[in-house]
């Protein structure tokens, strides 16, 4: 894997019509396709790099097992199959976060989930503050329409919430967090569902 297609796509979109958005529609579609091809190629490169970094040295006689990493390029329309499905089959979701800047960052990241009882831990198994926010009807409508338009598929399951949790990532480095289903009895460890207030009527 390499980033040649991404380099080509970025070179082409330096054209003044692409920068200003004054290109013809079919040209805009061509730019978008080239960027998408470049992104998919770069995603493979990142996945293989992360697999290499997360691999532990196998003891003698054991097979080296590479971990498969996925990204969510359509997270902007709240479509992220790894986070939506991982918790439904009893597995935990590992989120690896890379910081491309030269200073430590403390931010909140967002992933769509279907489960309303989840817990988030850092790599030292410390519980992390997390908050669930219901996906609005407008967001779900947008997601459904654009997934059909871009991917030609109708996703079977709809996520119910955004899971927001705070992360700390070192400069030019990465952190990992584990999202898992919380035990029914383990109320203290699960994420907090947002309280909702509406100003309409007399509420």
């Amino acid at each position: 894997a390499n980033t040649d297609a991404l380099a080509d796509a970025l070179a082409i979109v330096q054209h003044h019509d692409a920068v200003s958005g004054t290109q013809r529609q079919h040209v805009a579609a061509d730019y978008a396709m080239r960027l998408s091809i470049g992104y998919l190629e770069a995603e493979k490169l990142v996945a293989s790099s992360l697999a290499y970094l997360s691999e532990s040295e196998p003891s003698s006689g054991q097979k080296r097992i590479a971990t498969k990493f996925e990204q969510c390029p359509l997270l902007n329309i709240s479509y992220c199959p790894p986070s939506e499905t991982a918790l439904s089959d009893g597995k935990s979701l590992v989120v690896v976060i890379y910081n491309p800047l030269g200073w430590k960052r403390e931010e909140v990241i967002w992933i769509p989930v279907s489960n309303e009882r989840v817990t988030v831990q850092d790599s030292s198994q410390r519980k992390i503050d997390a908050q669930l926010l219901p996906l609005s009807n407008a967001t779900l409508k947008l997601r459904s329409y654009y997934v059909r338009a871009y991917l030609g598929i109708t996703p079977s399951e709809l996520p119910k919430y955004w899971l927001a949790f705070s992360v700390t990532v070192p400069p030019l480095g990465f952190s990992s967090y584990i999202v898992s289903s919380a035990n029914q009895t383990d109320k203290d460890r699960s994420s907090t569902i947002s309280k909702v207030y509406t100003s309409e009527g007399n509420t």
Binding site: T22, A86, V94, E107, Y145, S176, K195, V196
Partner: protein, 284 residues
């Protein structure tokens, strides 16, 4: 009693009972400001009658200077939790926004969703939002230069030649790739963006951003097609819906530049997420 307060850290936003933003308060640096927000649209020039130049991809040329206000009463939903507070507002059937205040952060994040812009009345529309304060900015504002240094802009004025103002709105619009700010003797209002938009300060104390456009005529300036983006499912097409974010902060004068530099880089270099699975407690 008649306002809704949002925010858990030092930054608080106050909304009126009608659901409109009214005040910005930062208890750490003692900034308190009247702050309002509205959405409007400019109607595109259709290039008929006596004026043959239509609004198009290249040409921003609002039909007169009429700004059509959004609906008066806005429904407001607030979500509160340990990390952030969110304010959901449906401005009209095709404009909505979510304002987020993160605990520990001193800026407001506004996520707008606009579209499909209706054009079945045959009129092109260019959608803008205005952030209004009481700051006395004396016709002056600052916009980035293609993501780099902020350059001083003065309304209806150019340093290098005598400007004849034919387009009081478009003639004062600038491209915004990183952000725009205004300041007076005590405070500065900074707005950073996550995407290229148009922007200006057409009224003292106000910042305006153009967020989405859908037009119905070609401007005959070379592109040869109408700026009318659509997205199709099973050969049924509708106007493009866009979603983006801008970030707002008010600082004592002279203290906003650090945030504009660091936050600007963080917006254009977001954290990269990669996902994998593990069995129960089989720690990787």
């Amino acid at each position: 009693n008649k306002t809704i307060q949002v925010g858990q850290g030092s930054l608080k936003l106050l909304y009126s009972a009608e659901g409109k933003l009214a005040r910005y308060i930062n208890s750490r640096n003692m900034v308190t400001a009247v702050a309002e927000q509205s959405y409007s649209y400019y109607t595109g020039n259709d290039g008929t009658d006596k004026d043959p130049q239509a609004s198009g991809a290249y040409v921003f040329r609002p039909n007169g200077t009429v700004v059509i206000k959004s609906e008066e009463k806005v429904s407001l939903t607030v979500m509160r939790g340990p990390l952030l507070d969110e304010v959901h507002q449906q401005i009209n059937p095709w404009v909505s926004q979510i304002t987020r205040l993160y605990k520990g952060k001193e800026h407001a994040e506004v996520e707008f969703t606009i579209g499909p812009i209706p054009v079945d009345d045959g009129i092109g529309k260019e959608i803008t939002t205005q952030l209004t304060t009481a700051m006395k900015t004396n016709k002056t504002f600052y916009t980035d230069s293609n993501g780099r240094d902020f350059i001083k802009r003065i309304r209806d004025f150019r340093t290098d030649w005598d400007l004849q103002v034919n387009q009081p709105i478009a003639g004062n619009y600038y491209p915004i790739n990183l952000g725009i700010y205004v300041q007076d003797s005590t405070t500065e209002l900074s707005v950073l963006v996550d995407r290229a938009v148009g922007g200006s300060s057409l009224v003292d104390g106000q910042v305006e951003l153009m967020l989405h456009r859908r037009l119905t005529h070609d401007d005959i300036r070379g592109v040869g097609e109408i700026l009318n983006e659509t997205v199709c499912v099973s050969e049924k097409c509708e106007g493009l819906t866009i979603q983006g974010k801008f970030y707002v902060r008010i600082d004592p004068v002279g203290e906003g530049s650090k945030w504009r530099r660091t936050a600007g880089q963080e917006i254009s270099a977001p954290l990269l997420l990669a996902f994998t699975e593990q069995e129960g407690n089989d720690w990787m």
